[in-house]
Amino acid sequence: MTVNKLEIIKQELKKTSALGLSMRLKLFLFLMVLVVVMVLGVIVVFLLTGTFTAGLGMNEKLFSDNLNHAFRSISKQYGQLSAQAVEFAGDLSISMENTLREKGRTVTDLQDHPEILEDLLTGEYQRALFSLQRAKSSGVFIILDATVNPKLENAADSRAGLFIKNMEPNILSASSPTILLLRGFPGIGRKNHISMHAQWSMEFDTSSAPYYRIPMLEATRQKLSLSRLYYWNPAATLPGTSEEVMLCSVSLLDSKGNVFGICGFEVSAMLFKLAHMPDSSTYTRLFCMLAPVSGNGLDTSGAMFSGGYSARSIFLQEQPLTIEKHRRFFFRYTEEGGNTYLGFHLPVEMYPRDSAFYDQKWAVALMAPAEDIKNSLAGFNFRLAVLFAVLMGLGIVISVFLSRLYIKPIIEGLDKIKSEVLDDASKTKIPEIDELIEFLSARLHEKSSRESQEKDLSSTMLNDFIKNLPTLSPAERAVFNLYVRQHTAKEIAGILCLSINTIKTHTKRIYSKLNVSSRAELLLLINMLKEAGREFK
């Protein structure tokens, strides 16, 4: 069956190559060539201008813009808080030392005279509150290296102090209680009309509190200025609380260099989230992160997050994220046994060069789950492909339509010509064809007028011939009749028994009288007469 079909196709092709393609088909093919060239041209332009990789390029710009923005806002917030913590520590140290001196005490007496703790801390409440509000932080804390009841069992890990939380640092003037007492003497709260936090306890549990031990240790070991001794503790949840926070601690030192406690500010997970929200209109799961750098990765267990999506829940096992370069554009961040993210990161300086903690490296990263980026790229390119398909389809349709539209009048015109009805009424409105029709029409007229002219001419000639016939002498007439019978001159000489020269002479006279110039012409006229049915005698 197929063999037959092939044969048929072969025949058709042969026929076509013999005959040539129809105008319509040719035009259609030419138009298609045009369409294909245009589409290819667009593709080339896209390739050259990098529109195909624009998907990726757009991503890169979006990410780097967001990252720079997050980097700037995080650097600013942390820088300002660090500076303010240092200032707070300096002022507090002086103030406390003075207060103690007025009571005849020094900072080294705190452990042995716990009765002075409450008054001391009460006296610093206003300063702490003011600093808190000025710093727009979510909490301010003071921890003294002493406890109110040294006889208790866990006294060694219980430190007296003050922790004031501001639940809404961004509200300018709040008449509602956004200030809560998280740690400290209840009397301080009651005196200043602030409520206790639901998770209040009187003192700090410092059993595992790097934010307390580390800065105090460094301050004892190294003689540096306070601005080189502040410490940012990676994100952690304080015992008995429910929110992850980062604390900036600065040691409290008296004029003799004795370290007697710490103080500082808090950045809560909510404050961080609201302050550094990236633009997630393109990628809903885009988030930024401030994380400690450990080896070749980012430590998510100590990081702070900001993003519309609850990034906290993404990092299931709190594994470190390993960083690797991914193709031309992104970095890839992989969680062992977990998810992959694509994005960028920048190292951020949390400490000055000669700080005791300069070796603690941090980075600001901006990333989204890898599948989100791949999906959006695929989506983008898919849409481009569909667009091209649509263009091609459209091209085909329009080509077919146009070729039909163009050819139809031509065919009509040709038909018209074939019909030979070539009067003025049948104009096709196609200049070239109308011209042809005009030309053919003229030629036809010419021909028929020439024909009729010829006819006229021959009519005239015939009439003259018949008129002149009687002028022939009998001898000439005899020769003439024999010529009519198709005899040659020689034969006529024989028949009439005359000499050839006599015949020739007669012939010459006949020609002259009948106004012909050759025997052929003579015979022609005779034929014409015969055909015209004219008698001659």
Partner: protein, 464 residues
Amino acid sequence: MKTRIIIFGFGISLFLFAGLLTGCQGDNVLDPKKPVVITIWHNYGGPMKYTMDELIDEFNETVGAEKGIILSITSISGSATLHEKLVMAANRDPGAPEFPDITTAYPKTAIILAQKDLLGDIGEQFTDEELSAYVPQFLAEGRLFDEELYIFPTAKSTEVLFVNKTVFDRFAYDTNIGYEDLQTFEGIAKTAAEYYEWTSRQTGGPANMGSMFFMADSLFNLTMIAYRQLGEDFLKDNRLNLSSPVFSRIWEFFYEPAVRGHLAVFDGYAADLMKTGDIICALGSTAGVLFYPSTVTSVSNITEQVEYAVLPCPVFEGGKKVALQRGCGMCVIKSTKEKEYAAGIFLKWFTEPEQNLRFISSTGYLPVTKEAFGEIMVKEMGNVSDPSIQKLLGTAIEMHQEYDFFLPPVFDEFDDLQKQYEKELKAVALESRKEYGELLEHMDADTAFEQVKEKRGLFLGTGD
């Protein structure tokens, strides 16, 4: 001609098809490939934050991922602060925050927003059948004006009596006082006097240095409930009805114990005083249960592990069992159709008995569906890990069956009236207490009190 039409038709359908592919996708309103982000403010902070976080994460990972909704918490604050923020935003004050898509709110906040036409009608997202699953009074509270449901019930509460059982048991053991004495307000006053004497004897100090026993978080609420229990209305025509004889009963209950130091007069929450052992009995919202920690800390930082008893709201002698219906719900701020629809989906899921029970078993709020309030709660109660909450839920079931619930009216001046009333009451009490304290140096307690009382006269009229 026919072929022309066919070609044209084909071309157009190609265009439409392409448009469909590149343009819209997904079902109806939401698209899982392009999730819509819903911001939410709530007041379930502190120890409740963990539960809320868990629930919201679970929503995002299940229903949210399926339908294309991402819920993002952008504020956790006390209800008073949320009220302030929302009012600021509604008034477009300078520095006002941007509205969230969903927020918890009390009726007083919701009314302000609804009047400015800022709230969406949540009823539109539910079918009648779905709505019938909810406790009708809770829905009624959310319909501020007519049919529109502006506050969706998510976390209801009532007022109950929290008692530091550990200390009370010691006290009860030494005296004739028992838990049944805490069933009436008059009984509480009597108990408070006894407790004062007992604590005074315990410390071995002077006779008039006992401890306070009781405090009500809101004197205004107490007064409103008392009136209802005794068959009257405290608020008439949006003004305080102080001429009623009921008021003298309340005054009697409050004034003497307050002056004598049996009852705390304090500007903050009763839970703060419970935390430090300054009182051992408080009348407060069930929503505050987590603010009564299992550790009570004394001034010298000595801590004691304590257990609580949660008892039904006390009643004035001869009165009916009436308690307050409180609690906030969630409001949906008007925005786009997609966001309102998504918010509806979240609210539906959040208040489904399974999630609702998880929420209440770690927060102390009350269930909002009839199903959850009924059999399920009785079954699930055993699984509640926090003992205080377990007891609270038991009391709530009991009250649900035996008490009538009173919905406080909502009107513009309500807040001011409340503040003014409590301020004046406390001011008078504290002043008298000071005088009493001074007189105590010269005479015995009873005489001192009579003198102060006479001087003061009956407290009359306030807050007009």
